[in-house]
Symmetry: C2
Subunit: 333 residues, 2 copies
């Protein structure tokens, strides 16, 4: 039994830099045809030169798996109209982090009022806004829900701005998708599968710890339901974020789940188990191509129903569900 | 500035066995005059012979710090009246674990109906029931709250049975204390100080991971409020539970916070900060002596307002707030 996806995309990916990038970028490119690459490097990407240099680094690392299209982003800060005009053709969106919300977000935005003029230009120039939607400083289980009023006010204030609620984890965010035409979302693999129970209900599981943290069972159900029916405003975005093993398992573990190398195989299995394979093409590609107005070289990847064991590590990075057996494997092309 | 506590007690303590016991028991005895020692060994304690042998092991390990009174317990299982008559004088209570709720609770109770006859005997013989009140299998943040109806039905069904809700973590449990005369509770140090934010809101903190897991800010406020006013049915119980460093920091971390060596110093600081030092004697001793009807040799411990740095490790065990500076220190007697 085989199954084929055309131009599967990861609409939210962290590739890091240097040796880590050389390790993980090819692992994404093995199955995905393209990915939205997050800009939270040190220092964060904010100029066309930085974007093009980083894009070249990614293209070099993935050339064995062409075509792989890095869809570039810059870090949100106040940009003037000229700066945005220069950036426009080299980016797919601008990523806004509330200050301190996640890894390397220390330079994130403190006050949304500082963003007004930039957001107006982005709306005019049709540059999507990608938002890490967590209220910094709030109780960890409430951070996303408390950010919903901010999404509502952004959606109302900039009705032609495409706003993407990134890596949503709550039923509240799923509901909001249907309330405003200009609100979209990505969702990760792990948030379709796990809750806080998996992170801290039995033993503590550093490799399932990410931001936003996995929430309640009813949240997971809402996310899974929206994914399985390929909600037209929802796309897959792995938020795959590699950390070396020691940074996950030492005292004070870094946040981030590394799922990129096995994300598509695991999604095929998940959608197959729910008799929803016919919706997977939309969830991992068609919705994104339509909503983000992407023009990408067509490229397909096929899977067969043959067991595949997830490796314990890729380099020094432990992947999501390490050691677990999946029922589908990639057919190497 | 000095402050003295008379006969401070830890009403919920894990001492383990062998080398670990030899390491941690003296650390409790350095400041505490006695402790309720939990029976979840491998195998769990259930006979008078086991209790007396374990008690001797503890007395030997703590003889440098006499007087230290181990208040012994056995693991709940169906006991007949004769067995309870034999046990009665050597124990302070019987500890009931729902199956699978925490470390070494695999032999815990599956169905409370199996407990009825034993609970009637305990009520008659005035043997306190100490309960780990979590609904096994429920979502981690709901487990204690969902156990409240079980406490209510136990309190109603056995009105003369002293029932102790152990290591409570929720506002729900604090409320229930005032609803039934025969319901009591213990609370740990860490649950007066931390919420899930401290465990998983920033980096993941294995050394703050325990069961029941720390809950929401409003829960912590309710617990702290009850402690600071020395609620007459609430006692301090550290639930201090040592695990070797590697078992806390490897992939899949064991549950348990090790607070015993610094618990009293930290409580003095906490109550001092809240201008509630005059209530600490009741919280750490008088309430317990009255409610459990204890008769113990009097013994005092004094503290002075001199900074004290919590060591990084005691043996191979990392304590609560390792490396942090406290404002009070024990005056060695």
């Amino acid at each position: 039994m085989t199954f084929t996806l055309n131009t599967p995309l990861d609409m939210h990916l962290h590739l890091r830099q240097g040796d880590m990038l050389k390790l993980v970028a090819p692992l994404s490119a093995q199955t995905f045809s393209g990915a939205v690459v997050m800009p939270n490097l040190v220092p964060p990407l904010s100029t066309r030169e930085q974007v093009l240099a980083y894009k070249n680094e990614i293209l070099e690392a993935t050339q064995a798996h062409e075509p792989f299209t890095p869809l570039m982003t810059v870090f949100f800060k106040p940009y003037n109209r000229e700066e945005l005009m220069v950036l426009k053709d080299s980016i797919t969106g601008i990523k806004l982090y509330p200050q301190g919300a996640t890894t390397n977000s220390e330079g994130g935005l403190k006050d949304l009022q500082d963003a007004e003029q930039t957001l107006k230009y982005m709306e005019e120039l049709k540059i999507p806004l990608m938002v890490h939607g967590e209220e910094a400083g709030a109780f960890v289980m409430d951070r996303e829900k408390l950010f919903m009023p901010i999404f509502e006010s952004l959606a109302q204030k900039y009705p032609k701005l495409m706003i993407i609620m990134e890596h949503i984890t709550t039923a509240s965010a799923v509901e909001l998708l249907d309330k405003y035409d200009n609100l979209y979302a990505t969702v990760t693999l792990q948030h379709l599968l796990i809750t806080l129970d998996d992170v801290a209900g039995g033993l503590l599981s550093p490799h399932l710890f990410c931001k936003p943290i996995a929430k309640r069972p009813e949240d997971r159900e809402a996310l899974l339901g929206a994914a399985l029916r390929a909600h037209p405003k929802l796309s897959f975005g792995s938020d795959s974020a590699p950390h070396p093993k020691h940074a996950k398992e030492c005292c004070g573990c870094a946040a981030g789940v590394f799922s990129a190398p096995i994300a598509l195989q695991r999604l095929v299995q998940l959608f197959d188990e729910h008799d929803a394979l016919h919706h997977l093409q939309a969830f991992v590609s068609d919705n994104a191509i339509k909503n983000y107005k992407l023009d990408l070289p067509s490229h397909s990847v096929s899977f067969e129903k043959v067991p595949f064991s997830i490796p314990a590590q890729y380099g020094e990075v432990v992947p999501f569900e390490a050691g677990k057996e999946l029922s589908w494997t990639v057919i190497e092309s």
